[in-house]
């Protein structure tokens, strides 16, 4: 599995099978990654509304308890351009990328924080893997590991996307149909289903 | 269900008269025109002068692109309130004629408006003659409408 360099990235973007749209400036495409910008929605984990994250609430996601649990877990903020949002120390926020991303079936995306932000304490809390054939915005789980709040503005480059060629051991490409994804055609962040078919293991 | 039936009656004419009276008083004490709340009579008078200047008194609040009314309801005969402005319009014509004589309204109205502007902003002081005519206009308008 090899990472795509700038030339290959631009080639795939030009061909149209890889989509990262819009790229507002050419220097967003770096030597081996593409900078991603913050979008205009912030979902903040809201302490006090839920006592704990409970997979049991997701077993019946369309029932009242499941919906209530999802909706009350986060507080949503719409942050138009030229406004800002403060991420306080210890907070976790879900934000979408500005860019719409479509990954072809021969590539896998990996999203990490940009190092300049990471040095300020801003982290993509988990290394986000974007599966082949994904289409939509990318949800970034931002955490502030610093000691002072960080002011974030939609449009700022806060993450980077590296793309890797997926090859089978015999050198051919993996033949992957469109996988079932709860986040396909996502336009904004949403809480996922942590129970994900594991209901047999959940008590309560 | 509302506890009371409030029949809305248009009071634009008496309100206009009251605004004219207030603004007339500001001409004697211009500092009063810059206090909070003074913007209301000044803006409103300016606006109705615009309507008079452009003969544009259609002012029904219409909204709702969908023709939902009348589909399921039985109609009753009521009149739209399109004559709210007549008394104001007549009073303005009369006051204008008395205060400005033969000066056409296209010239007279901007002079009155410049006086209101000076009161609101303390800039671009109109001449003493213009201020005097504006005061006469406002006093006559107020007397006619209140």
């Amino acid at each position: 599995m090899s990472a795509l360099g700038r030339s290959a990235l631009l080639e795939r973007l030009a061909q149209g099978d890889l989509v990262v749209s819009p790229l507002l400036s050419s220097d967003q495409v770096g030597p081996s990654s593409i900078d991603l910008r913050m979008g205009t929605v912030v979902l903040m984990a809201r302490a006090g509304r839920q006592s704990h994250v409970d997979p049991a609430a997701y077993r019946s996601p369309e029932a009242h308890r499941g919906i209530e649990s999802r909706k009350q877990k986060h507080e949503r903020f719409d942050v138009p351009f030229r406004e800002s949002f403060l991420l306080h120390p210890g907070s976790l926020a879900l934000v979408p990328t500005l860019e719409w991303v479509m990954i072809p079936n021969s590539l896998q995306g990996v999203v990490t924080a940009r190092s300049s932000w990471a040095r300020e304490g801003l982290n993509i809390a988990t290394a986000t893997i974007i599966n082949p054939l994904y289409r939509g915005i990318v949800t970034l789980e931002l955490a502030n590991f610093g000691e002072i709040p960080i002011r974030l503005c939609p449009g700022l480059r806060i993450a980077q996307l590296a793309l890797y060629d997926l090859r089978r051991i015999d050198g051919d490409q993996e033949d992957i149909g469109r996988p079932e994804s709860q986040f396909d055609l996502a336009f904004e962040p949403a809480a996922g289903n942590v129970s994900k078919k594991d209901g047999k293991f959940i008590s309560g | 269900m509302s506890i009371i039936s409030l029949h809305y009656q248009d009071h634009s004419d008496t309100l206009c008269g009251r605004f004219a009276m207030l603004v007339s008083s500001y001409l004697d004490s211009p500092e009063e025109a810059r206090k909070p709340g003074a913007a209301i009579p000044l803006e409103n008078l300016f606006r109705v002068l615009q309507m008079y200047r452009y003969d544009s008194f259609a002012d029904e609040r219409r909204s709702g692109v969908l023709a939902l009314e009348g589909i399921d309801e039985m109609p009753s005969l009521t009149a739209d309130d399109e004559s709210w402005h007549l008394r104001i319009q007549n009073a303005m014509s009369s006051a204008l004629s008395s205060a400005f004589g033969a000066t056409p309204k296209e010239q007279a109205i901007p002079q009155i408006q410049s006086t209101l502007r000076w009161l609101a902003t303390d800039k671009e002081v109109p001449s003493t003659d213009v201020r005097a005519r504006a005061k006469t206009f406002l006093e006559l308008l107020s007397a006619d409408l209140t």
Binding site: L98 | A39, V48, A58, V65, L77, L116, A120
Partner: protein, 437 residues
Amino acid sequence: MRTAKDFLEQECRNLNAVLEETLRFKYGLDGSQQFFEECKNRLIFIANSISSVPSTDSANLRKSSIALLELSGLISRIERSSVGEYSWPFVEELKQVAEAICTEETVTDRNRAPMIHVFSDGGLDKYAIFTEANRPSNAGKRILTIVFPRSLKHFVLLHSILGHEIGHAMWQCSKHQLALRDILNTHLFSTGTFATEKDAAMWLYSANAPQAIKDQLSAFGKSGVTRNNFFRWASWAAWREEILCDLIGLLTFGPSFVAAECNLLYSFDAEGTGIGQKHPPVGCRGNYLLKAAHLLGQDTHGLTDPQIGAAVRTFWDGLNARRQPSPWFNVFTDGQIQDTAHSIAALLQTLPPSCYSSPTEVELKHLLGQLNGTIPPVGFSVSSDRTLNCQKIDFRHILYVGWIKSADLGGLTFEQVNRLCGHAIMQQRAIDIELEP
């Protein structure tokens, strides 16, 4: 027992407290300061009015009580506004159009844009733009309130219908009303079906009216409404204003307005024969709109690309299928429609960016290509030589291609097309910011 004056003075204090409470929330795209100050000024004025009259002056106290009611309604609507409940990117674009049209000369400002307040409410029938009255009131600065249906937050394609509401706001501007009235009296209403109330009533009650119309009129007759007094029940001025606003909607939003209006109106009135107190029958409105779009050339692009041409034709064929076949519904001649539309367009062209202009074929192809690829249609592309290109795109062109796509959804749903276009309008805002000098 408290007097009426005591009660009203207390209500003023109550409203002041409520107004301060509203500052707990962030409302409006531009913040709360201007709304707060305007409402405060109005409250001060009303409170002064109440305190200056004796408690026995019931007439003036009653006027003040009505003013307080209106203000309390306004404050509670402001408090309900939440940026998250409507499409703020669409509002930012709409504001540019509204501000261009509704700027007024005021006592302190020669070119003041209205204060725009947005909130969401209810469902399909809630689209509205409320302009405050021009006539004397307790308002200082006028507030334009735009209402989006709460249920349609993400359905930007339908939001094009607000072009009609912009028309009402435009009519309320004194400086435009004179010009518009001249245009209407010279062209659209100079002769023919809508020349006078009597002519319109005669047309409505004519023998070749559709049976559904006759049945309604017969039912109205039981309540005393006849041909001779029809426009005592219905408002002649309102009917004419609604026709004007349909044309302004077309001229400001283009084909997406036609599509939104046809879809919304016919969803409530499938036959197009409902007679409204303030609106002419839907069938007439659809017919003259489609005719106007055609006469303005909005349905013809001289397209050379066969695929794009086919897609655009499918869209317009779908709309034209809604045209009412009976000639009774055609209330204006082509000449009347054309002359009126061109005259209003000339007026709008002096108020950029209010006047809609058609996209080029290159733009159409690019945007539709993106949408067909399930990509939000924006002004971004990567050339074959690997150059990244950003360009400005009118949001109304995004809406247009959304509707073209909706005529042949492929694998997408109508909701998904709306979401893609809504997302595009947001992204295009970022592109426009980047392109600013």
